[in-house]
Symmetry: D2
Subunit: 331 residues, 4 copies
């Protein structure tokens, strides 16, 4: 799912061209169009022959940047090999928590990109940049302005996640029709650890993790695209609902300032009731939508945030990361 959306979005991108498509040995040598089911592509893309993912690709193609949606077990080795030579923007989880690898959301922690200089100290000519897990991105985009404005003590989040997050064959129709599944393997630990790195501070050498608590309970629901998250948050300060809402509404970052092609005009849209089917495509799928904001008690709020999990939460996230790399002359 994510791999195919990469091909779809990159084939229509303003800054990047698809030079080659690589996958595992199993499909290598076959026509892309005979494997791709999820989107409508141009004939040029459909007729490309799938290559096997390996460092050898660099000898045969003129590649400036590799986008990766590899499974975590494969990504570990290959991505590091490629990063010795070229820029790599990956959605894979393999290297997300590595000390010298930026876990990046350009609106949230663009200064972490300087970790690439740390990477280069070990001889890499290229670089490796990762984006967080889809449900983490949607949540952290809303946490960042709250942290900056009011400080955060504690977060509890209950998700309702779309089936596309599990890939084309990840969730059986027998499991999800007239049903919800309150279990998604490894998702909760990602949501509980990645935000600490994302919202940590870079001291020139390493990231010092943020320290508030996040507790997550993740559920799959019968929605195609769009993760919805119910959040209970306790803040250091005690803003009004209006101040809380305004912090979200006016949030903007470096991608907006640089006017990067994939940057949404408003990273956070405010609606009374965020709805996946109606709002997931706002900002071409790159805006998240927040709403249902209520004050529960002094310092304590509840709200909902929703975002397109395979665009803002995966493919668009990697492309925005790559755009920042390019703008900063790392590509």
């Amino acid at each position: 799912m994510v791999g195919q959306r990469f091909v779809k979005m990159l084939s229509e991108d303003r800054w990047f061209d698809v030079e080659c498509i690589a996958a595992s040995k199993r499909t290598a040598g076959t026509r892309y169009g005979d494997n791709a089911l999820g989107f409508e592509y141009s004939d040029e893309i459909l007729d490309m022959t799938i290559e096997e993912t390996s460092r050898a690709l660099l000898d045969n193609y003129d590649i400036d940047i590799a986008f990766s949606a590899l499974p975590a077990d494969v990504a570990g080795t290959v991505e590091a090999q490629l990063a010795e030579e070229i820029a790599v923007a990956t959605n894979s989880a393999a290297h997300r928590m590595d000390e010298d690898v930026p876990l990046l959301i350009p609106e949230v922690n663009p200064d972490h990109l300087a970790l690439i200089d740390v990477q280069r100290q070990k001889g890499w000519k290229g670089s490796l940049v990762t984006n967080p897990n889809c449900s983490t991105i949607v949540m952290v985009l809303s946490l960042k302005p709250l942290l900056d404005a009011f400080g955060i003590r504690d977060v509890k989040v209950a998700t309702m996640q779309a089936v596309s997050g599990a890939g084309f064959t990840g969730v059986s129709s027998m499991d999800i029709l007239d049903n919800v599944i309150p279990y998604i393997g490894k998702e909760e630990s990602k949501m509980e650890t990645e935000p600490m790195k994302l919202l940590g501070t870079f001291d020139g050498n390493k990231i010092n993790y943020a320290e508030f608590g996040v507790s997550a309970l993740c559920t799959r629901v019968p929605v195609i695209d769009g993760h919805t998250e119910s959040i209970f948050i306790e803040l250091e300060q005690d803003p009004s609902v209006e101040e809380f809402t305004e912090a979200l509404r006016t949030f903007s970052g470096l991608p907006q300032e640089l006017n990067l092609p994939s940057a949404p005009k408003r990273p956070i849209e405010i609606r009374d009731v965020p709805l996946p089917r109606m709002h997931r495509d706002l900002g071409n799928g790159m805006s998240v939508t927040a709403g249902r904001i209520e004050k529960v008690a002094p310092h304590k709020f509840k709200y909902v945030v929703m975002g397109h999990n395979t665009i803002r939460g995966a493919v668009g996230a990697s492309i925005l990361n790559a755009e920042l790399l390019a703008e900063k002359k790392y590509v």
Copy 2:
């Protein structure tokens, strides 16, 4: 939806017979079978003529107990009138928080039934017993054994509620297909206030409310029956996961002791992952299912509880209340 399930379940009940079916002036006089779409009924039921709901029914029919699924605005007056003469078991919200009306879950607070003696002090020959809101019942069945065993400091709950909770025409297919709706009118305040009464203590005259905090964020999902609830709870004591689970698993109450017809053998079933479509009919829809129990930090747990909203959460709840009334000779 609730009204029709009342007719369906009562027409097959061991203790109760359907003497008459009453509704608003609009449908009064018509054949029940020409109005009922949701279930398969016996010909006898289908051929009954709908009466208009009023005190006059008591003159024309031999009624011992009235079951009510009236809209809250109508229920207020009519239920009180009927209760002057006969027993009334209602699912309506109108009188739930009245000082002298038991808000009853027989496994949770059967001693509150003694409020009927307070009711009789004002001259009623009958009585009025209410059951809580559907999402409240599912949650409180799991809170009761935790409160008794470990004490509760704080609860945050994010629900994923079935469409049947809104009635036959309550949720449009255009709103819910490929979507979730994180808003259900008045639901959150019910979930935040009703548990305090249910888990309060009766001092012989009135209920002294429980005092921990409940914060709720309610969402509608594309599920026919079965409300699923993600709960973050902080306890006074600090049990192990096993002790926490055992408290839920072994929970039992007066209905089980009295072996009431609608009482499930186990009020709480434990499953690794509670699933509405697979588990909502456990205990004939009267058991709730808990699972995904994890310890987050000392005193802090997360878990999921799910129950059939129109059986355990509404119609079955009223019938179980009525069975307790009958057993206690209030009918």
Copy 3:
């Protein structure tokens, strides 16, 4: 649903501007944005005040053409009144079968537009053009090239129709989740009679209806947008599957020739398996998709055709009709 999509599509149209929005007395006077839930609109549209639909609108606004999605019972009178003065393009069923009113699909029977000259004989300065029922349009776009190339003896069609066809509140979630509903009021008779007028011949005065039989069995399915139709057809001639497919694939008409703004490049796209979610937006929702073409016996074929019911089947249909009106100087 159709009304709101009219406002959405016309507000973004190249040829037409939204001068005023009118509805029934009930909503007249209110802000459009307080009534419209289905789409994201510009602030300018959201802030428009809804007018009451009547002839008086012509005095207060500078209107060249009225687009109508009125209920059939209201449309009868008002549309005829407006047509005395201005052009009216309607999706309503009220006047579809009127002798002097073109029932129009611009790719299929553009010559029927000459009925406007018959309308003007009764003193109208304006004109009235209707588009067929949504499921009719999808089917007839595929029948037209088959009729022209091979002649048609008989058609049997079983539909699987999207819930949007019934409007925002037309289909309850309780009725359609985990279900199909093989009944849609009045739909089958529309599918059986409208094609005869659409595929009839205009003799300068009136339409002589086509004469083959159409039998339809209509079902609602849990799909948001996109009507899918399983068709069994018997032809006069006996083409090969390739010839049959080629007739569909190469179909093109006057809108393509005139390059009208809403005209899809290919009115019929061919895919192995037409799928509503994947293909309904082809040609901006104005192409239908055909596939699963098989020869059952000499002269006998089966195939599937699918199209976006509220774009090609309703709003886009009316707009394309209006574009043809404008191009032909009737506006």
Copy 4:
């Protein structure tokens, strides 16, 4: 899916006990409860160890009859081997069209059971009985009384089939949410050929196939259980709608006469609009529901029939076959 429902239904059967559960080499040796996800089972069943399917089972267990849901490629050899010794009732397609194997629906062609005597001429001590494909059974139950009463010239059928027909992992949620899929591999040819054998006549040695035409177009829809079929039929005679309906309503067969445990009281229930979610469990899932009956033209009718695909269409079908085998002393 079918295999698990076999275990579920047989473990609660009045006539049969589950002696052993066998599957492929891959799962042999594991606990049944570690593989079974679809239903709630007794502890006794959950704790059974899965055996490998082979003739050797007959040496280690006391088995009178084997129920098979094997994949067609495996079923061919193993089922024939088992049938040399014991009775085999299979849902597999492997032997359905074999000359000496009854393709059986007990209400439709119980006399075909005599083919077992032909089987025994080749030395088998056991027997092999097959049931048709799920969508065939639902349709043919309605065709049989029409054939007997009025004769059949031609049938066209468009199906809307439940996802359970493809097994637990057969249909991905990404493919079916907000979608229909008008393609099911091999289904259409089964629906076009099996009825000819089922409705054929047995002359003491072999089946002489029925000869009218059936043309099928099969679609998967987002429904859990229950295949719905839109049928256009042309009859030899020209009954009224009432006579047509009455032929369906009064249909009854040998299982009803013998009062077999799984036989529904009425094989065909009549409802205005057959609905999978509301009617699939009628007769414990063994009745099909017909409705929407209309006369299109002399001799020509359209109607809808719906049935539970994994009960009446698979597991219940095999069990009813086995009950007839037992009653007729073949077990």
